[in-house]
Amino acid sequence: MVLEDYKGKKPEFTLGPKTPIYVPTMQSIPRVPVIDATSCIHFQTDGCETCAKVCEPKAIDYDMKDETVEIDVGQILITTGYDIFDASQMAQFGYGRLDNVYSSLEFEMMLNSTGPTGGKVLTKSGKEPRSIGIIHCIGSRDTNHHPYCSRVCCMYALKFAHLAHDRTNAAIYQFYIDMRAFGKGYEEFYSRLLNEGVTMIRGKAAEVVEASNRSDGDGTLLVRCEDTLIGKFREVPVDMVILCNAIEPRKDADVIRRLFSISKSPDGFFLERHPKLDPTSTMSDGIYIAGCAQGPKDIPDTVAQASSAAARILSYISKGQVELDPVRAWIDEKYCSGCRICNNLCPYSAIGFIEEKKVSKVNDVLCKGCGTCVAACPASAITGKGFSDAQILAELEGLLEV
């Protein structure tokens, strides 16, 4: 099977030709097929129905419709994941333009035994590459794109090298800036790779160009880079280039953010309550984040973070109640005219606006009692319980009596 029509399309559509009824990937959960109504003959002509005929448990129902279900929940865990950087923004690497330049996810798919090549490492023309170049930091550690490090790429680049070495006789080159092998067993794996004969070139690749075509139809690619360890510019001929695309926040991360009133850090990922002491909560009580939605991370870290968030959530659920601090704000509807000046002031998004009544209302559970809204309300409609205006004025009068 040959990789066809995959360039620029999303990974789930690069499995080659697809039938209208298909399983998204072999690792989908749940692993059930879906029908693409736009290409299914039954939905166009009311005919066919072959799949229903062959399905023994009679599990196919063409009348199923999309449903929107509303569920009341007390806590939400946001694990919306990441997008990978679109490397066609860096034209110098030829992604989307040159044959045989693959993104990390595309190569991952190629390596997968359920992928388009059945797990074999093949160039576009179906041949085994004689040499492979793996370029690190595409879009990461780059002032023009993302200044941060995507954390996982060095290790998967080493993994790619290891698997490619296993399945082919290709010479493998890694073009890297630093080798970040920070985890358990990671450094040992790196050493093992060095012994497998992978060539490490320390120097970010500058560009990938096409060399003149070789006689057997394969265009060799040239990776131009500076090898800083020997202090020379190099042109390395490879048959395949694999890019380590940056991990970036999802395109609709801002939509999600606004929906849940959570913040983002400067890099665009969702903001945790505390970078060291509380990486799974957000400033809003009851909303948690885990995984790459919070920042690039690999599987062990994601599992740890997700488990931690789940444990926090379960502890609340098992308590069955939420304990509220009595010090908090309360809006008197009698005086509130819905000017909404307070709405934006709450760092915990505890103040909502009730459209029908045109008043604002404080969510008791989220309010932490800081009193900022109390001071700001131009109608004095908000009482700060425990630190009310009357109480503070009484203190003032007492203090200044003598």
């Binding site: 760092p347 900022t372 503070i392």
Partner: protein, 149 residues
């Protein structure tokens, strides 16, 4: 007999109040002129409190909050900052020296900073002299009444 300034201080619970407490516990001598009202956050401090303090006889008002970026409630201190800036402008319109209102960022571990600020501010107000707002208003009334008589 030099005048003893009456200074009302609004300190946020998490940083400045704790910092001032630390100063006390560390036996750092600081003037008793500072009369403290604790609020949970410097963002709770309503400009009305400041003005009321002046009206009731305070000669100076000190507001203490967490350092920018460190507010226990994320950004309450920024609201305090904005309010103080606009309030100082209003104080000038009323003829109250804006130096009588001071906003300081003092963290929970900065007992020494509290001491320094307390001493500095007390001396500054001592130099500026008593405000005596109510008495001044009553005096103007008296002048008017005498003119009518």
């Amino acid at each position: 007999m030099s005048f003893e300034p009456k200074i009302v201080a609004f300190f946020c619970n998490w940083c400045t109040y704790t910092g001032a407490d630390l100063a006390g516990v560390s036996r750092l001598k600081s003037p008793a002129n500072i009369r403290v009202i604790r609020t949970m956050c410097s963002g709770r401090v309503d400009p009305s409190f400041v003005i009321k303090a002046f009206e009731l006889g305070a000669d100076g008002v000190l507001i203490g909050g967490c350092h920018p970026g460190d507010c226990h409630y994320t950004e309450g201190n920024y609201k305090a900052l904005r309010r103080v800036h606009l309030l100082k402008k209003m104080l000038q319109s009323f003829g109250i020296d804006e130096k009588r209102l001071r906003l300081e960022w003092i963290s929970a571990s900065e007992g020494d900073v509290y001491q320094r600020v307390a001493i500095e501010f007390t001396e500054q107000i001592r130099t500026l002299g008593p405000l005596n707002w109510k008495q001044k208003l009553e005096q103007r009334d008296k002048v008017t009444q005498e003119m009518i008589a």
